[in-house]
Symmetry: C2
Amino acid sequence: MSDLPSSEQIEKIIEAIESEQNLDSLQDNLAEMHPVDTARLLESLAPKQRPVVWLGLSDEDRGEVLLEVSDGVRDDLLQNMERRDLVNAVRNLDIDDIADLIPDLPDEVLADVQFSVDKQAKLGLDEVLSYPEDSAGGLMNVDAVAVRGNITMRVVIRYLRLRGELPENTDQLFVVDRRGRLIGSLHVTVLLTAPPNERVGKLMEREPVTFRAMEAQDNVTSAFEKYNLLSAAVVDEQNRLVGRITIDDVVDVIRERADHNLMIRAGLDEEEDMFAPVIRSTRNRALWLGINLITAIIASWVIGQFEDTIERLVALAVLMPIVASMGGNAGTQTLTIVIRGLGLGTISSANAWRVFKKELLVGGLNGLIWALVVACVATLWYQDLGLGLVIAIAMIINLLASAMAGVVIPIMLHRFGVDPALAGGVALTTVTDVVGFFALLSLAALLLL
Amino acid sequence: MSDLPSSEQIEKIIEAIESEQNLDSLQDNLAEMHPVDTARLLESLAPKQRPVVWLGLSDEDRGEVLLEVSDGVRDDLLQNMERRDLVNAVRNLDIDDIADLIPDLPDEVLADVQFSVDKQAKLGLDEVLSYPEDSAGGLMNVDAVAVRGNITMRVVIRYLRLRGELPENTDQLFVVDRRGRLIGSLHVTVLLTAPPNERVGKLMEREPVTFRAMEAQDNVTSAFEKYNLLSAAVVDEQNRLVGRITIDDVVDVIRERADHNLMIRAGLDEEEDMFAPVIRSTRNRALWLGINLITAIIASWVIGQFEDTIERLVALAVLMPIVASMGGNAGTQTLTIVIRGLGLGTISSANAWRVFKKELLVGGLNGLIWALVVACVATLWYQDLGLGLVIAIAMIINLLASAMAGVVIPIMLHRFGVDPALAGGVALTTVTDVVGFFALLSLAALLLL
């Protein structure tokens, strides 16, 4: 793969733009670049630097780039584009890709796009747009090639020769009856290897994996992975073929989902533009910090109930973050495992109790181990065995609590339809902070003073 | 997709096994289940429950299931299998799949497997095994169909008919010269639509995306995504065709990578078996907790330097977790964005400075906002304007520090070849804890006492 534009090459272009030198060769470089790389380049640039690149792109490349860039950068580009340029960039894309862009397009551009595509494409676009964005119908393209079951392989091949080029990623043709209802599929490899006189109906796969247009995208991605599909038919309520989904779009969904999971764990907007205006980024992240502030104040309030205790034994103030932090870390481990299990479907009500017991045991054991270590540290530090004992008990209590919270919180959130990846971490650390501080301080008040 | 075995079905099986009732119908259910679902079922069961399912599987299903289960469960299954059963399960798999399993197989089984596959397969297996697991060669299969460039479409089709079924996911044939060197590729759709008398050499794609066998898998996955590939040729140093990589294996790599990222952030073993023995899970997680304990002790030590200050103004002990926790959360947001940018290649030395400046601004602004809020809370709580002022300044300092750490730490780790997802979080919270505690307590010592 010596052809892949290396990241060094992109780095050089960025350097040229940063220093505003050697911009002459930029045009040539851009023409050779793959839209995916151009999208990465645009994401690497500050908004005010992007026009240098953007203006150097052809209409076709612009359309592809709009599909590839992150949401934040796309908004930035769309806002600064002439309406006519925008229509030119979008109208030559595949129907499913236009449908993906449409939620972000200004209304008047949308009308122009629908006006400028041909009639066939307009029908297809209407079809795709009639389904929710995250359904199988929203993901499909309308380029499925259909044949009838009663013709021979020879006739199919003759038809394909007349038709010319096949749509990208065509691994199978779909077999329909007179009313357009799906009755099977015919792999192109079968077409190549089967006797020319055999009929389609005899050699077709009779029950290909098929999606209803309203099917959730999660089911589509897991079926593609499970059955190693390259494409699959999408049918409407009457089982009529309305389109097909191809693996490249499924890969995009998988990638976006993984990205989404990583981002929301830190309370970030799904696709924050790395160089969005400072004000916008600040606002995007402030909400999350505000939520965390509330939980931090709750924990502080718990400490506040023990001011007298701390005044009389200031070592507690020194040691209390250790108990809270160990609980937070152990709890996050449990939480991660449970969220993953819920996502994969390996945790359900049938075995949740078993998960709970196991995590409690692991939490208790790790609590014991680290309680011993921390007890030694505290005893040596403050020459106070009682203090060592108290912090050890608090540690065990908090690691047990963190195990329980790590199992119960995500399962409850999941049951109430809240994504546990989003809210699970905050809820968990609130519990481990509160329990950690309370256990240590109340035990100390009870036993040491 | 009414055919997909629903999670409820799996739940019912788990319930049956848990209650040890209705086990009669288990056998029938298992025979109908897809290996992916069987793998999920096994992962949902405790080790001692797994034999009920495992013993009910055919040799073929067992091989597929071994491929699909997580590493932890696979180890468990392999350890409890008869050597002969193991050989039977493995030997009928695809060459690339056997190669994937081999690192986990006991040595004597490996010899038996190599002995029991046919000579052709053994050669292929040796070829795949000669490359590192995470290289293109380690990912490839050896089932590429090759044709010569000087023959016509008609001859190719006749050859394919004689050959019979094509390997799964065959979207292109590879064109080689007399010495087996790759000179192009021929899409099966071209074969279907081109005139029968045209020669392969004329219609083939002359520069198909191709990987050297030693190419890193990351480059393979990004090229598959970028170019929407279904398959690609793998060649050796002499440009001879040695195999091909198909999209289904690439999807597996993408999925595993995403999973890996989520797990190591919490310091978890990549594929911890949810029901592994308690002792093993405890040990797996203890190391991470130990590392965190060290960082917690460092933060405590900083607090310890200010015992006098806290004794005189115990409100500091109450408020200090707020400053530390806000820094940790803001820093994690920056860290997540920078790790993502490093992974995508949108952050490089060319624009790192710009990222740094922006994050510093966002951190400073959010510091200002939340410093104001916290100052009000603290002033009202303790009726002490001085205290409110001190915590406000400490908050701004810590959010600036968290922004710097969130940019610098992952970039440094990345440069030294350490995965920032693994160590970044711990390093960051150490910084934000230390800076948070130190800023608040030292300012208080200086200004309030």
